[in-house]
């Protein structure tokens, strides 16, 4: 199989090169057949990359340890789920995954645009094929995932790193990759536009959705990375300005800038050079980010291995990309001249420009600070480093300026704002900011920088509310519906604009969460059983340390009781897990008591079994959950902006107002009623060290039942040490030997004790593990619901079209359009 895999890679490489060559030849000669052949070749690379991925996944599933990569990143004991995801667990596989995604995206982009943007397509194919060929080249000459052992073949694999055996780490990399790889498509279209000289807005329209979608996945990936760092690494925070994190953030800045500056080009035909540049820079940064994290150029505490050859190849590719793309920009400068000039600094385009500069500056600053140790060593010979405080000192004010612009830009008019419309537009938002600020000062909240952030959050929220309200009033006046229907209609009429405002609302919540960091409290203590420590208004008492084992890992769990203002409010179980074969690098299992006001976050980095003492790191993280909720709202907003036009037909048409109002009410309930204190921590499950369960099924059953002795506080059957528990375990063993199924056993216990009391089910670990997903589910769910309802109504309207001779009054419609435009 391995040699087949290597062969497929080689074939994909050859086909990619062919696709690039034939497309360019076709475009230059004007040969339709050549161009078609190039497109076909690109489709073929997708098929081949799928086959190669299939081979490596198959090797993981069957455990083909003759392949080095499989041997290094999986073992027989791993659950199937993690075997599948080991595919992108290491460098070689992640490159293959990259190629697979790129070919897939390229195929979709070409297939959907080949008729509409006929003149661009050959060069789009060529650019995608060349990028693809580079990554294939890396694999073939340097990092082949199908490399085999030449001599002795090991019996079992080394296993995936325990830190990566975590649900977030399963979704996080693909999400980030989708974002990274997706940015290649806008780049390919931009380059095609430059090369062909078709520099009107056509290429922008072709890539708008791709950029938005990639941006969404990039944001999702970054958020998941934060959650992973927060819940799995256990240092008490979510963002440490580590080079690896920064690598993902760099293209996010420039992509955000691009999404905004595109609007200026569409509306005012300005910033054309700038847009092309942003696309190129974004693509460059995705490659650079990969290079930075994979080649060992930047040293980080995470200490990646160094790989000089890889670094050289990447450097070569990046240099060529820059020379080639900026070469074309310079060549096309005459065609890229802006048709309009900036009229006034008090205009929306000026605000967008400022936003772009700041985002680009952020990207450059983060890049500079990340590379600083390397740069200073190269220049002065002294290795100087900068830490998170340096990043924060710069990024906090930059973030606040961006937040301010988020609120201010929509209030400014295009071209030039007059004094009177400034007054009218800014009155309420500024009042909101002042009221928030005043209230905070009265409450004695620190002004810098969290206080300012809160005030700005008030400002931006007021802007968004005002935009929605004013737009809806105009629509209401024109259509005579209720306010809620008018709002939906408004969103449907300009999905990108109002979807964008919803994204801004998400950003506000994210900033709200960031500001909470200013009120963080933390303490490191050493506690013996019975001792307690107080942080803020929480007191944590250390009760005991227990040792359990579930076959894959040994778990040391601290049992803590938490008091709030003297009242007992719950228990927390921070733990350390020692995975087999990775005993020297235990994972830290954080215990978190979540609420929307604050998280109580407890880690047990060290323990002493002799005297049962535990070293605890106790952190209070205020408002942190709003960051995740904010992302959910951002996803919802992006989703709305991405919806097809027909999706909102129901609301822009005439429809029963009550129905639309009901939908909205439902959506709002979904968004706001779900919250409640969600707690996520691992449950103290597993086997007491003297192992008694004989089969995995029996072990699993012991964890589903609790000890009924009444004296040990509903401990799991697998855990409790009392006599009653061992009797119950013996009984369970008998039932299992009789061959009863899980359902029968549960029925037996329910019948025996007359209730569901012996079931441990309410403390379902699966649910707790999923708790993080709530905001996303809300976002996706409401988005999905909206779509379904929208499509249903669209259909119904078609069916009932006859009795309703739709747009009643063309003049009215025209006036509405006019008014909406004025609002713009």
């Amino acid at each position: 199989m391995a040699s087949l895999g290597s062969f497929v890679l080689l074939a994909t490489f050859v086909v990619s090169i062919y696709a690039a060559a034939i497309s360019v030849a076709g475009a230059r000669r004007g040969s339709r057949r050549f161009v078609e052949s190039g497109i076909g070749a690109l489709y073929l690379t997708t098929a081949l990359a799928t086959v190669a991925s299939g081979i490596i996944v198959h090797a993981f599933v069957v455990g083909d340890y003759t392949i080095r990569y499989v041997q290094q990143y999986s073992d027989a004991a791993q659950p199937l789920f993690y075997k599948l995801t080991s595919y992108w667990g290491g460098l070689d596989g992640s490159i293959l995954f990259w190629v697979f995604l790129l070919s897939l995206f390229g195929t979709i982009a070409v297939a959907t645009n080949r008729e509409r943007h006929r003149e661009l397509i050959p060069y789009v194919v060529a650019v995608i094929a060349v990028v693809q060929a580079f990554f294939l080249f890396l694999m073939i000459v340097h990092r082949n995932p199908f490399d085999t052992f030449l001599t002795a073949v090991p019996d079992d694999g080394r296993g995936l790193n325990p830190l990566l055996q975590n649900p977030y780490m399963v979704i996080h990399p693909p999400s980030l990759y989708i974002g990274f790889v997706g940015m290649t498509i806008p780049f390919a279209f931009g380059m095609a536009a430059l090369i062909t000289g078709h520099l009107d807005d056509a290429w922008l329209r072709a890539v708008r959705r791709w950029t938005m979608l990639s941006w969404l996945f990039l944001s999702f990936g970054l958020t998941l990375g934060m959650i992973w760092a927060y819940e799995e690494l256990g240092w008490g925070g979510y963002w440490g300005w580590d080079p690896v994190e920064n690598a993902g953030l760099l293209p996010w800045f420039t992509a955000t800038a691009f999404l905004h500056s595109v609007i200026v080009q569409e509306r005012r035909a300005m910033l054309r050079i700038w847009n092309v540049t942003l696309v190129i820079v974004t693509f460059f940064l995705t490659i650079f980010g990969t290079f930075m994290t994979r080649s060992g150029v930047v040293q980080s505490v995470h200490a990646f291995g160094e790989d000089r050859d890889l670094a050289l190849m990447f450097t070569g590719f990046m240099a060529l990309t820059l020379i080639f793309s900026f070469g074309w920009v310079i060549r096309r400068l005459p065609l890229l001249r802006s048709r309009n000039e900036l009229d006034s600094w008090l205009s929306r385009e000026a605000a967008f420009l400022a936003n772009n500069w700041i985002l680009l500056f952020s990207a450059l600053f983060v890049l500079f600070a990340t590379m600083f140790p390397t740069l200073s060593e190269a220049v002065t010979g002294e290795r100087l480093t900068v830490g998170p405080p340096f990043f924060n000192k710069w990024m906090a004010p930059i973030g606040l300026i961006l937040l301010f612009l988020t609120g201010a830009a929509p209030l400014l008019a295009w071209r030039k704002s007059t004094a009177s419309n400034l007054r009218e537009q800014f009155l309420w938002p500024v009042a909101a900011a002042l009221v928030t600020g005043g209230a905070l000062v009265a409450l004695g909240v620190r002004a810098w920088s969290s206080g300012i952030c809160f005030a700005l959050c008030g400002f931006v929220t007021a802007t968004i509310v005002q935009e929605f309200y004013r737009g809806a009033r105009v629509r209401q006046g024109a259509t005579g519906t209720d306010l809620l229907t008018a709002i939906i209609g408004l969103v449907g009429r300009n999905k990108r604009r109002y979807g964008g405002y919803i994204v801004h609302l998400g950003i506000v919540l994210v900033f709200f969460g960031f500001a909470g960091d200013g009120f963080k409290q933390e303490e490191q203590v050493l506690l013996k059983p019975g001792q307690s420590a107080t942080v803020g208004h929480f007191t944590v008492r250390h009760d005991a340390i227990r040792v359990t084992d579930d076959g894959q890992k040994q778990m040391i769990t601290g049992h803590l009781t938490v008091f709030e203002d003297g009242r007992e409010i719950g228990r927390l179980y921070p733990a350390k897990w020692f995975f087999r074969k990775h005993e020297d690098q235990p994972t830290t299992e954080v215990a978190i008591r979540r609420s929307f006001a604050e998280d109580l976050y407890v880690v047990m980095p060290a323990f002493d079994l002799k005297d049962q003492s535990a070293s605890l790191h106790i952190v209070i993280n205020p408002l942190v959950n709003w960051i995740w909720v904010g992302f959910g709202i951002m996803a919802l907003g992006t989703g709305i902006a991405l919806l097809p036009d027909t999706a909102f037909a129901f609301a822009t048409a005439k429809l029963p107002a009550a129905a639309a109002a009901r939908t909205t009410a439902l959506l709002l309930t979904l968004l706001f009623a779900l919250p409640g204190a969600v707690r996520a921590q691992h449950n103290d499950t597993g086997q007491p060290v003297p192992v008694v369960a004989r089969t995995p099924f029996e072990r699993a059953m012991q964890k589903k039942l609790i000890c009924m002795c009444g004296g040990c506080g509903r401990q799991l059957l697998s855990e409790c040490q009392c006599g009653m528990a061992s009797d119950m375990r013996a009984e369970l063993a008998r039932l299992v030997s009789e061959g009863r199924t899980e359902e029968q056993i549960i029925q037996y216990y329910v019948a025996k004790y007359g209730s569901q009391e012996p079931l441990a089910a309410p403390i379902d670990e699966g649910f707790n593990r999923l708790a993080w997903a709530v905001p996303y589910l809300i976002g996706l769910g409401s988005f999905g619901l909206l779509g379904v309802i929208a499509f249903r109504w669209t259909r119904r309207r078609e069916a009932a079209a006859t009795p309703d001779p739709a747009p009643a009054d063309p003049a009215l419609e025209a006036r509405l359009d006019e008014e909406l435009r004025d609002l713009d």
Binding site: W235, V301, H302, G305, E306, F372, P373, R383, V386, Q585
Partner: protein, 140 residues
């Protein structure tokens, strides 16, 4: 040179200078020297009071912990030079004899004082198999 180009040029120069100046001044107190024990201890006087990231190896059997507390005393060395260090707080798992560590803090005549959370134990195997092949955590 037109009037407009002059204006743009002047604005750019002013902005670049302003940012450059700000960057320079914040870099002054934001940076730390990254040094190995031997480089520092060859001339310790020159380094007193400066913020350092000190790279070295924990001297075997030198880690002492005060009873029932999180106060540590230990020694780090590289190329024959040794410096005593003090730290108060939780240490990472990989902090043990012979571990390769990076300490953040300042050097005083009494020894190296590590700031809170300033102990980073480098573990080459954190994200990759022990063979030392290069991998990052996927993505990030």
């Amino acid at each position: 040179m037109t009037h407009k180009a002059l204006k743009i040029g002047a604005t750019t120069v002013v902005l670049v200078l302003a940012f450059g100046g700000l960057l320079w001044s914040t870099l002054q107190d934001g940076t730390e020297y990254y040094k190995h024990v031997d480089e520092v201890m060859a001339q310790p006087d020159a380094w007193y009071g400066k913020r350092l990231q000190l790279h070295g190896y924990v001297v075997p059997a030198s880690i002492l912990r005060k009873r029932d507390s999180l106060d540590y005393k230990f020694k780090v060395e590289s190329k024959g030079y040794v410096v005593p260090a003090t730290y108060s707080g939780i240490v990472p798992d990989t902090f043990k004899d012979d571990a390769e560590v990076v300490l953040k803090g300042t050097l005083t005549p009494e020894g190296f004082q590590v700031e809170p959370n300033g102990v980073m134990a480098k573990c080459p195997s954190k994200y990759e198999p022990k063979s030392g092949s290069a991998t990052a955590p996927p993505g990030v």
